[in-house]
Amino acid sequence: MTLSLILLCILAALLELDTTYAFQLLLSRPIIAGPLFGWLIGDMSAGVQVGIFAELLFTDVSPLGGIIPPSGVVGSVVPLLLYAQGIELCFGFFLGVLGAVLYSFFDALLRKTRFDWLIFLEKRIDRKPTDIKRTIAVTLLLSFLMSFIFISVLAWGSSQLMFILYPYISARTHFAFQLAYLAVPWIGLSTLIPAFRLKTR
């Protein structure tokens, strides 16, 4: 992995913190993250398209209760990182969507295991309440590191996979991926109309 790809993964992991753990200003939503990554890789139109497609596709799952929606940041950064390496968006987007779904399972696992070590830190807070700031800083740092490792491994793994498979991809397979990619905005837009259904006043 080159230095620029590592820097992009660091930025993606920082943005991923905004999804749940810090700020929640929605800087991590694909319509913002997509153009940002697109600009950084040098193709703004690809960034805008991936951003809109990813957000439309993920918009029907909200973080209600303990539900973790697919990661918009992973869904935007993976296709654009692959695109920067010469892999078409229709393939990259598919891998990005798979990665985003995988990330939600990974995040659920982190949240399940986090309590096991948080309980020790809570006991320290009981004794010394001012330790709470340090505990929050540690959890944020660990969340960032986990996101960074996941995104880097996913980006590296999917690019290696595509480099191996790319020469063997037939025109038919290419057409199938293109067609499914073309359908994404229509899938998203048609689910937005029922989302605004007026149930009660």
Partner: protein, 272 residues
């Protein structure tokens, strides 16, 4: 509550979900936000702080923006706990505090989920798409995309960001004050706003936006294409996915799985 404590709580509220876990949810963040107020309230009796903090480290879960009402209300009720003159009164006030925390967090979460995740987020997405369409960005074309300038690329996202955050930050800031100044007769200030009317009006705007963008999108998708096999293929694709999306929505199947299934089915069809 002084102005500086309110500011401190406001900034700390951005880290409410930092230690989110499936056992106690936002308890760590909740304790972090309330800390400046508690330290001031118990400044003459700092030995009490660890005991008080135990209550704040119990399970707590609500919507991150609407949580501000809970912070204000809990601060208000904590003052009553601190003022208790007898053990019986102390126990009564703690029981009231615990009940209010549970009830208020559920109510605030319900309103926040409907307003922010269910309405405002998709509405700002539509707003961004609408702006991009007005700026001439044709994101529906996958082949031969036209270049997008830096300003055009960021404008729509920035507008969506400012619209969403102007409302979210206003509620975060005002919620602390309103929650603190109100009592349980007005559900700690939650009844001060007509949430149902706001959500209803926002959804009405949303549905108009969604239909307009859908129609505009169809127009742009078929613009300049002669009625031939390509036109028919595109029409079938759009119609098929619009219908199937309505069906999967009713069956509560997420869009992601519909897309992944489409990739697999198209590959099988193309293979044969």
């Amino acid at each position: 509550m002084t102005f500086w404590i309110r500011i401190n709580m406001f900034f700390r509220s951005f880290f409410l979900q930092a230690g989110w876990n499936y056992v106690k949810y936002q308890n760590l963040g909740f304790a972090l936000v309330m800390m400046p107020f508690l330290r001031r309230l118990y400044r003459h009796d700092p030995e009490m702080l660890p005991t008080v903090l135990k209550r704040y480290l119990e399970a707590f879960n609500t919507h991150p923006v609407m949580a501000s009402f809970c912070f204000g209300a809990m601060a208000h009720l904590e003052e009553n706990v601190a003022r208790a003159k007898s053990v019986t009164e102390y126990k009564e006030q703690v029981a009231e505090w615990t009940g209010a925390r549970r009830g208020l967090s559920i109510t605030a979460a319900s309103i926040g989920d409907r307003l922010f995740w269910g309405t405002l987020k998709p509405l700002t997405l539509l707003l961004a798409i609408f702006i991009w369409m007005l700026l001439g960005v044709n994101f529906l074309e996958t082949d031969g995309r036209t270049p997008v300038s830096l300003v055009y690329g960021f404008t729509a996202g920035a507008v969506a960001f400012f619209v969403y955050n102007s409302i979210a930050l206003f509620i975060r800031w005002q919620g602390i004050k309103i929650g603190y100044e109100s009592d349980d007769s007005s559900c700690f200030g939650l009844t001060r706003f007509d949430w149902n009317r706001t959500i209803y009006n926002a959804k009405r705007i949303g549905i108009i936006f969604a239909i307009a963008i859908m129609l505009f999108g169809v127009y742009r998708f078929f613009e300049g294409i002669r009625v031939d096999i390509h036109f028919l293929a595109r029409a079938v694709l759009v119609l098929f996915f619009v219908i199937i999306s309505f069906v999967t929505r009713r069956l509560r199947i997420p869009n992601v799985y519909l897309y992944i299934t489409a990739v697999v089915i198209f590959n099988i069809v193309c293979f044969f």
